[in-house]
């Protein structure tokens, strides 16, 4: 049997392109040059955008769908769509970076963003535990560096270290869980694992393995009770890094998670009415995240920490989407994760632009944004309302498809139904803290001496693009949902 390396090369062109792009960005910036930091940043971002665009084009023509290279990776709709979504979110992050970054090493920043994106795209197509672990690690390692990238601020270094320590422990849990799965089934390929588990049935060791894997992924999705890193990282990391951590990383992580759980460990899912398996555990994590995220967000004064707790609440809803994916497929989950990512990138983009002309940590730092920059205030309006789930924006449709999926699982009087009702009820609580942000931005008068904010062109383009996509996907959801029909 000859190994089909040619096939692999064609399927992995997007990743090759991203890694090549990262090296090219570093190489162009390497010679000692007299260009200003601003020019170097723009050159790096232009190269980075070129790499992302090429990767996107190659992802569209990635070849025949189906398992590749002996089942190591698989090209299916979830994988292709997640790749495309991750690349799009990375483009928006680069746009924000070009407009706002004043960091000292622009080429390295862009290269790290590209390397992290390569990890995300691999996570989207991995169908084997080894590739899944390596993709997750390479993406995470880049994100740790990005979180600690601003060496001048102690907060950034601290955020990076905390993110790293939590991430390292969760990676160890994940690897230990994978090793037990390998021991139980003798394979690391998801289809074989699935067949073996269906044959052997539940065992105590399998329960240990499942719990360990869920700890690892709960951390990745920032779900309670593994959320402790999220507020600190969102607060301390540079705004473009926080945008990438909050959006693309979530989308890729959930795509990998849903692929691992349903096609891989589906035989060990148990059910929500008491049989042991991972479904009851995911349901508990989901409920805890929805409760903790929404109530803790009410107490926040720092806008970044508020976004972090809102991210935890959204992680709960996304895990509900993972549960529902067994019945309605991953389409609803993908739609929710992507549109949530767009809104979060946008919100962090607005924070990044405001930060150019002063502090932007407390919610009151946004006061009078409408007078200081109507463009920023308008974009923030769209992003925050989409996060809150107001129709006709994409956030509403995302919540709608996920919650109806959960309700279909057993009606309103089943555990999934209770979770959906809990999430819907707490959306009303969430509306309060989202409106607090909007009140500061749109109603309150600006502080004395607050100058108008000039929005740099690349950042303005990225913010307008994100807002336009949210409205577009909101009024025409079948653009994304139709892909999975």
């Amino acid at each position: 049997m000859s190994t089909p390396y040619g096939e692999l090369l064609i399927a992995l062109r997007p990743e090759i392109c991203l890694v090549g792009g990262a090296l090219a960005v570093l190489a162009v910036d390497l010679p000692k040059n007299s260009r200003s930091a601003q020019a170097r940043l723009h050159l790096s971002v232009a190269l980075g955008l070129l790499a992302l665009a090429t990767a996107y084009a190659w992802n569209l023509s990635a070849g025949v769908p189906g398992p590749l290279f002996g089942g190591v990776l698989t090209l299916d709709m979830l994988g292709q769509a997640t790749r495309a979504g991750v690349l799009g979110l990375a483009v928006l992050t680069l746009g924000i970076t070009a407009g706002t970054s004043r960091l000292r090493h622009p080429a390295e920043l862009v290269a790290m963003i590209l390397l992290a994106t390569a990890g995300f795209t691999l996570m989207a197509v991995a169908q084997q535990l080894l590739l899944a672990f390596l993709a997750l690690e390479s993406a995470s390692l880049s994100l740790y560096v990005l979180a600690g990238f601003d060496k001048t601020r102690p907060e950034s270094a601290e955020a990076g270290l905390k993110y790293f320590l939590f991430g390292g422990v969760s990676a160890a849990f994940l690897l230990f869980g994978f090793s037990l799965i390998y021991g139980l089934t003798g394979s690391i390929e998801l289809p074989v694992i699935s067949a073996q588990l269906a044959l052997t049935g539940p065992s105590p060791l399998l329960v240990v393995a499942l719990v360990m894997i869920l700890v690892g992924f709960g951390y990745k999705a920032a779900a309670a009770p593994f959320h402790l890193w999220a507020p600190d990282v969102y607060e301390g990391a540079p705004a473009p890094s926080a945008a990438l951590i909050a959006s693309a990383s979530k989308l890729a992580g959930l795509a990998l998670f849903v692929r691992l759980l349903w096609p891989g460990l589906g035989a060990a899912s148990g059910n929500l009415s008491g049989a042991a398996g991972w479904l009851p555990v995911v349901a508990m994590i989901s409920g805890a995240s929805i409760l903790l995220g929404n109530f803790a967000a009410l107490a926040q004064r720092n806008v970044r920490r508020l976004l972090a707790y809102s991210a935890i609440a959204h992680a709960g809803a996304l895990l509900l989407g993972v549960i529902a994916a067994g019945l309605i497929g991953p389409g609803a989950l993908y739609y929710y994760a992507l549109t949530y990512g767009l809104a979060t990138v946008g919100a962090f983009g607005v924070i990044a632009v405001v930060e150019r002309s002063g502090r932007c940590q407390d919610i009151t730092d946004l006061a009078g944004l409408r007078a200081r920059s109507p463009l920023l205030a308008g974009c923030l309006f769209v992003f925050v309302l989409s996060l809150a789930g107001i129709p006709p924006l994409a956030g509403f449709v995302g919540k709608f498809v996920v919650f109806t999926g959960a309700l279909q699982m057993g009606g309103i009087a089943s555990p999934a139904g209770w979770l959906a009702v809990l999430a819907i009820a707490l959306s009303a609580v969430a509306l309060y803290y989202y409106l607090v942000i909007l009140k500061q931005a749109l109603v309150v008068a600006p502080a004395k001496g607050a100058a108008p904010i000039k929005v740099p062109a690349p950042a303005a383009l990225a913010l307008l693009g994100a807002a336009a996509l949210i409205v577009l996907f909101g009024v025409w959801p079948s653009l994304l949902l139709g892909l999975f029909q």
Binding site: L129, L130, F133, L134, E137, S138, L141, Y144, V145, G148, K151, P154, E155, A157, E158, A159, G160, L161, K162, F164, L165, G168, V169, A171, A172, F173, L175, F176, F178, S179, L180, Y182, G183, G186, S187, I188, P231, D232, E235, G236, Q300, R301, N302, R305
Partner: protein, 103 residues
């Protein structure tokens, strides 16, 4: 007790020692050591399951371990870089003093 069971006991013990180290130590480097112990516990599992498993000819476990050792090395490099970044600001690496971010 079969050799596989002894290996699994050893790896579980290592994992627990690592976890206790992570949770109880105040120095960032000792926490990092704990994480490495936990990763290596998983590696022992892979080797044991490969060696005493139904088909040791496939070599799956040993390949997985080679890659995961490489990943752990990369992780240690990034970790020490971040420890140095924190050291530059607070002149020590005690995690109790890394508490600027809270709310």
């Amino acid at each position: 007790m079969s050799p596989l069971q002894i290996c699994l006991l050893l790896s579980s013990l290592l994992f627990c020692i690592g976890l206790v180290g992570v949770l109880s130590r105040g120095s960032a480097i000792l926490v990092l050591l704990g994480v490495e112990l936990m990763l290596n516990a998983a590696n022992i599992n892979f080797i044991a399951f490969w060696r005493y498993g139904p088909n040791p000819d496939a070599g799956t476990g040993i390949v997985f371990v080679l890659f995961s050792i490489a990943a752990a090395a990369a992780e240690a490099a990034v970790g020490f870089a971040l420890v140095i970044a924190v050291y530059r600001h607070q002149r020590n690496i005690r995690l109790q003093e890394a508490n600027r971010l809270k709310g």
